[in-house]
């Protein structure tokens, strides 16, 4: 069992709750091995803090395999850190060097208020889905799965859009804190499939309206979202959403 010999200096955002101001605190973590994940390094640090009688750092995480969308650290100015197509939990310490200083902050957006330390409230995303990110089909209404053939090409595109994990890195990456990439991924998935056609227009209108209500900023096409998205959700989806929205606004 290898034990590491890297030393990492961390500057971590500490904030007691949404009502108090926060600040960056400095910590040193010794014995970091390159096989550790970024979050495992935080585990080591937290154990260290507990043994010193200091309150551990709160951060969101669950699956630790890049699929639940819970982890959300803003690392050296980039959501999920330096690698492309990777969530914080999948980032390993082999991407850093001994002696590195790493700044870790929470997602920053008005629509994502800080709960504590690195933990933010992303329930706005659930409300956007509740406003239209579904096909209205009650249990028991379905016909045989193969009675709706879906051309492979379209099915693959829908799947790529559906791969969004709802992490919010796109919002954190955007200088306007826009949620367009997230919204467009769901709108695209369902617009590409025959099952999504009946509600296609309402869906685009309602989800965009909810996005605005939640206080996300507007999209100015900088593309920062797609560049930082751990699931590499493509900007084509935003273009599709714009078309869907425009089409729906004209006919409604």
């Amino acid at each position: 069992m290898s034990h590491g010999n890297m030393t990492i200096n961390l500057k971590v955002w500490r904030q007691k709750n949404s009502r108090t101001a926060g600040n960056l605190e400095t910590y040193e973590v010794k014995g970091v091995s390159e096989d550790m994940s970024f979050l495992e390094m935080f585990d080591v640090l937290n154990e260290q803090l507990v043994s010193e009688g200091k309150e551990p750092i709160a951060f969101d995480h669950d699956c630790r395999e890049g699929i639940c969308g819970m982890c959300s650290m803003y690392i050296n100015g980039r959501p999920h850190g330096p690698l492309q197509g990777v969530t914080t939990c999948q980032l390993h310490m082999r991407s850093f060097k001994d002696g590195d200083t790493i700044v870790v902050e929470p997602w920053r957006a008005t629509a994502f208020p800080v709960i504590k330390d690195l933990v933010v409230d992303r329930s706005a995303f659930d409300r956007i889905i509740a406003s239209g990110g579904f096909v209205s089909v009650n249990t028991g209404n379905a016909q045989d799965g193969n009675s709706i053939p879906v051309p492979k090409n379209e099915a693959d595109k829908a799947f790529s859009a559906a791969a969004c994990i709802g992490c919010g890195a796109c919002v954190a990456a955007c200088k306007n804190a826009s949620a367009m990439l997230f919204v467009s991924a769901k709108v695209s998935q369902l617009a590409l499939l025959p099952q999504g056609q009946a509600e296609r227009q309402d869906r685009a209108l309602n989800m965009v309206a909810q996005m605005d209500t939640e206080g996300f900023g507007s999209c100015t096409n900088t593309g920062a979202c797609a560049a930082e998205c751990p699931k590499e959700i493509s900007l084509e989806n935003i273009a599709r959403l714009n078309r869907e929205y425009l089409g729906a606004s004209l006919t409604k």
Binding site: S2, P56, D60, D62, I129
Partner: protein
Amino acid sequence: MSDKLISKTPEGPLSEKWTKYRSTVPLVNPANKRNLEIIVVGTGLAGASAAATLAEMGYAVKAFCFQDSPRRAHSIAAQGGINAAKNYQNDGDSTYRLFYDTIKGGDYRARESNVHRLAENSANIIDQCVAQGVPFARDYGGMLKNRSFGGTQVKRTFYAAGQTGQQLLLGAYSALERQVGLGNVKMYSRHEMLEVVMIDGKARGIIARNLVTGETERHFGHAVLLCTGGYGNVFYLSTNAMGSNVTAIWKAHRQGAFFGNPCFTQIHPTCIPVSGDHQSKLTLMSESLRNDGRIWVPKKKDDPRAANDIPEDERDYYLERRYPAFGNLVPRDIASRAAKERCDAGYGVGATKQAVYLDFRSNLINKYGRAEASKLGIENPTIEQLVALGKEVVKEEYGNLFDMYKQITGEDPYEVPMRIYPAVHYTMGGLWVDYNLMTTIPGLYALGEANFSDHGANRLGASALMQGLSDGYFVIPYTIGAYLSGEIKTKSIPTDHPAFVEAEKSVKDRINKLLSIKGTQSPESFHKRLGKIMWEKCGMARNEKGLKEAISEIQALKKEFWSDVRILGDADGFNPELDKAGRVADFIELGELMCVDALSRNESCGGHFREEYQEDGGEAKRDDENFMFVSAWEFKGESQWELNKEPLVYENIKIAQRNYK
């Protein structure tokens, strides 16, 4: 036998039980439904599908999860696929065959009637998910594609690359959010259920802690559904998400719900091996990879050569050698034990020697590469060409898994074989439920991995997703009527009722007790120590001596925990350390019961391997004469349980030794 242990299996021939029952179970009329409140704890496949469907039917639903969004339940991480007896491949599949494979895979320790119902519902699940817009894999004709999983000889597994759980859960989540938007479901995220409230012997609500504010809340329900997932994290290291825990069902158990087959644990053969002490979880490499990967170790002990330098005839494809009929697709318990056997015998690979190879090269070149080359009309392709062509196909099938492997290990599985080793993955045990999915507490139900029901002593791959969705979409919406039709006169009970006050007080007292210990060791360190005891003594192989030791070690650990745990922070705010401490305390108690159960079952079956009970060749030796029953444990006080037995009767299947040779 306890009079509480009545399975309520309907009469009649197996294949008609469910359809007949479904059309005779009492109904609740629409006007009454609106006045009936149902609490659903958990929003994984089981919980989200149940909450959405019950709300569609008109019940007033409250749903709870501890993550920040219902979409993040652990089901999201399921990779490989979901079974359904559609027979789209025309390869002889049928409801009966799926039923048969599941009973046999479970080593004849599951209830026939439940498993048959599961097989019947399987096809409807696929239809429902497709209708929701779940983007399953399709072929060029636009039809749904299938792959094979272990323990079967047909292709019945539906999938969406290596992200099937994600896509199915997002489907159920969208149905749930639709009901939230319509006002039919009230969603409580970042809430943890910490107690079941009992009034006159019935479950009438829960106490939950708002994890953001730290406040405890009282919630009334005419019925309570626990859909809180599995408890594999009792082993500390497992493939489960970090937050997966036993707390909800453990509280119910302490209130009187019997715990079924607690020791039946699934150790999954293909996971990324442990790399160091810092390890916080283990990562699964889906069973679907065994479709295309061949498992081997070197024929020579301690072979120092790199995998690609070991020639074909010096490799031992031990599964193909020992089980020619099923080869690499034997069930999980068998594949796991075989890997352990090879490593224990000194043939393991990698730095720790606790790993075997899962190798894609031969299929990448010969199966996929050649097929693509002939599609493209390339004659006499070179190996490099074949590798490149094969890679594209493999990428489409399993791309995210290969990326995940590379990320974690730093090695590229397209070039070198994966190193894999068994890891704790799934718990077949859970709250005992009757045919209606009701526990031994009236009004309290358990769905999904949280119940013990359908998988016997070993679950077949791609069957958990099927069970969760069957329970939630197609079983509970009918069976809950049997209970709620008798509750239409029960008015909502105000939460200032003494039972609520009392339950909330006990929750608060426990939190205060935990915080007041102010010891020296973190909850995490206790969890690690518990996991080590469980893995070594109640893991892949168990024996009487080890289990007895484990029981006394766990009792000592419990004492130490309650006198020396150190929890920083306080109770009135967001405090993950406090949440963790409560969960670890419950895991410790569960660990003891698992060992008690394993010790009482003097046979080997499925995932439960008692070293004293094995055939000459090392295969598990079942004892049908003495152990053909479900162990349902009743909580009697600290470290005290009483065993109740539900006999298993097989009327439709001939019991045999499992044979995958």
